[in-house]
Symmetry: C2
Subunit: 440 residues, 2 copies
């Protein structure tokens, strides 16, 4: 930890000027008030105006800095240590659940309660912060990464798949992966393909509000994710997040059919073109469909954790420049996912570049930027022409899932025909049936 | 018209073999049945299995081809001519509405009813096919283009804006633009910026099902668009499309806040982050908000129809290659719209390329691929860092609208600071207020 972790701007200048550091006992005089306490670190959401100290009574307060602020060190600093309570006695008969932490808002939960810097979750942290867990499962916790999810890349998917597989092979009843929400749906698609033939559920969970806010969704999401991993009758990769803005229920969404559809709402995740798989309320799991893969501890997991990163996602629009298609060809790309308009269209002028790419061994697939509905390239001439030159129509697959699946397919085979075949095979529910899903 | 318009595959081969052409009176013998009638052209959705003839009683029938089919020409062909009925007498006191056709499914409506090839709409076609229109408005119809909308480019936006402006300056009470649905929302955004200070409404309308299908939405959409253009109390660019899958009502969506969100449903268009502006049912317009610009025939239109096409829309994802950012810089791009994750994030490794672009005069803006919600780049470090290097956070503006607005702004000014200011100014409702919109 830095000496002044999390401070920035004018408040950082003030702390530096008075040569204090996190953990010091300090006296702050500002605008007639005097405060004394331990200087605390700050975390995400920190502004550049407030100094946070822990008063003797244990409360943290934020003191606004001012030009005439005076700070004095009155005690030798020790960074407040977090002493986890003893692990609760494990109850016999509870399911065993691995909780793998990769970072994101949900994994920073412990910090604020304790004042100590815990970038991620250990088993004892989990039990101390969410004591309900000890009633639900025997938790095996592991910190794998501490990454905001916009920084997650294919190599992290590989590592997550491998770690998850090793817990499953070790006999856990389910796996929970704590993950930032930004790219969680990309990861859920990646793990869906990397962890074939799952015997137990893998539940990705995150939080949209950090735990320093009264509206945090972290605790409920985590509890319900552990409930699902330990007990749900399914064996798929799913995302478990809020059903509504209130702390009522968690929905489980199929990992290949889900998308973050709101920047900040707690119920930001939505199943697209299918309904959610299950609902969890007050510890009770209700399956919402018959169409899911059943849990079966005898099933042998097939781990296929590699991805080929030379796959592009290209959103077509009226200003789109066809040279970009050729750039990808010239830069060694092996796959291109087009996010076309409507039923799966692009400007007819792009056809020569697309044709050239395909002739040179690039797999080009079509999805729709509408997100809901299904690509149908038999209706209009441009669709038929695109199919004729070899564009692969990916039905109702999400563009993001198509990107991830293509990267996965191209790591399984270098043969274009085989890759096409795999792309058009419904492997883990990435295609849904033509039956109209009314719930969009 | 080609001699065998619309026929393909094996049925085309059969027609060629027997040397008949559209308009010929032919006798078809197949599998024991004999049919006689005029060979008709075929249109979109045509399969490669059926020959369509018009029987003497006026009905069209489709006859399935077979290996042993025999076709004989028994009469000299004349292509069935479409004779529009006389224009209805114009009623005094009706509003005057310009109907500008640019192509798309809605503009192919006339074809099937008459059997003749009319690629687009003339005033008399309109009245003959949708006779209700003569009760609603004095229609001034014009065929501007005949384009599927995936082929619409910035130059077409310019032409549409100029044509619309000339009708408005000529005194019409409103303008309807028939347009393919695929890129209609890009065009509605473009016209929103190009037609500043509108005195009357401009209503874009399309159809999701062509008129050869019983479920076509073309007629209701067109009628309600003309109702809105002639009578709605607003003066904005809007899209008017089905509220639900049934022919009940049309919703008017603000041109900068709307998106095609389903590939095929009739209610595919949705207002994002705001509610729709109005609802039209059985000729009655109900405003759904107070927040709109009022119709005012005294207001002087300001036509600004130019766009700078060197603007890119880049969707960030875990496999995204930062070299793509530099490619745009090196290829003369002046604007880049990032579709970031969540609150407006990209992988931290992209920052150097983005910084270099901005230093070289590229405007880089942030939107969210969530689509719903608002970019907030003050919450996490990466957001703050992106703002520090000059990325413009575009609040709750849709990525597609951001693309179009930036292209428009960069045609108004070459000055980066001025462009930034314009981008952050709410000009035509492209930003909505922070008040939580619950209706997502």
């Amino acid at each position: 930890m830095d000496e002044l972790t999390g401070y920035r701007g004018e408040v950082l200048q003030a702390l530096k000027k008075f040569a204090v550091k996190v953990g010091d006992i300090i006296k702050i005089a500002t605008d007639g008030d005097v405060f004394e306490g331990t200087l605390m670190p700050r975390y995400e959401l920190a502004d550049d105006k407030h100094i946070v100290i822990k008063l003797k009574n244990g409360y943290n307060v934020g003191i606004r800095t001012s030009p005439n602020i005076k700070i004095e060190r009155v005690g030798v600093g020790t960074i407040p240590a977090f002493v986890p309570p003893p692990l609760p006695k494990e109850r016999p008969g509870l399911p065993e659940v691995a909780v793998i932490s990769t970072g994101g808002t949900i994994a920073s939960r412990v910090d604020y309660r304790t004042g100590a810097v815990h970038p991620a979750i250990s088993a004892s942290d989990l039990y101390s912060v969410v004591p309900e867990l000890s009633e639900i499962a025997k938790v095996r916790a592991e910190v794998l990464f501490s990454l905001y999810s916009e920084n997650i890349q294919a190599k992290h998917w590989t590592k997550m798949a491998e770690t998850t597989a090793s817990y499953i092979r070790g006999g856990v009843n389910g796996v929970v992966i704590c993950h930032g929400t930004d790219t969680m749906a990309y990861t859920s698609a990646a793990l869906s393909f990397a962890l074939q033939n799952l015997p137990v559920p893998v539940v990705l969970v995150g939080s949209q509000r950090s735990s320093d806010r009264p509206s945090s969704d972290a605790a409920m999401n985590l509890i319900n994710a552990v409930v699902a991993a330990g007990n749900a009758p399914l064996a798929e990769v799913v995302i478990g997040m809020h059903e509504s803005p209130s702390d009522t229920a968690t929905l489980l969404h199929r990992g290949t059919k889900v998308r973050k559809c709101h920047t900040s709402r707690r119920d930001a995740f939505r199943s697209i073109n299918v309904g959610p798989l299950a609902r969890i309320e007050a510890g009770k799991i209700t399956m919402l469909t018959e169409n899911y893969t059943r849990r079966d501890s005898e099933r042998k997991l097939a781990l296929k954790p590699r991805f080929n990163e030379k796959v592009a996602l290209i959103k077509f629009h009226p200003l789109f420049d066809q040279e970009l298609i050729e750039w990808h060809l010239n830069n060694g790309y092996k796959g291109v996912i087009l996010e076309g308009t409507g039923l799966g269209h692009v400007r007819k002028h792009l056809l020569p570049s697309i044709k050239k790419s395909i002739r040179n061994g690039v797999i080009v697939c079509m999805t729709s930027q509408c997100l809901w509905g299904r690509v149908n390239m038999n209706v209009y001439d441009v669709g038929r022409d695109l199919q004729k030159i070899g564009v692969v129509p990916l039905e109702d697959m999400l563009p993001e899932t198509a990107l991830v699946k293509t990267a996965w397919v191209l790591a399984q085979t270098g043969n274009v025909e085989e890759a096409r075949k795999l792309l058009l095979t419904n492997m883990v529910g990435e295609f849904s049936s033509r039956t109209l899903y009314e719930g969009w």
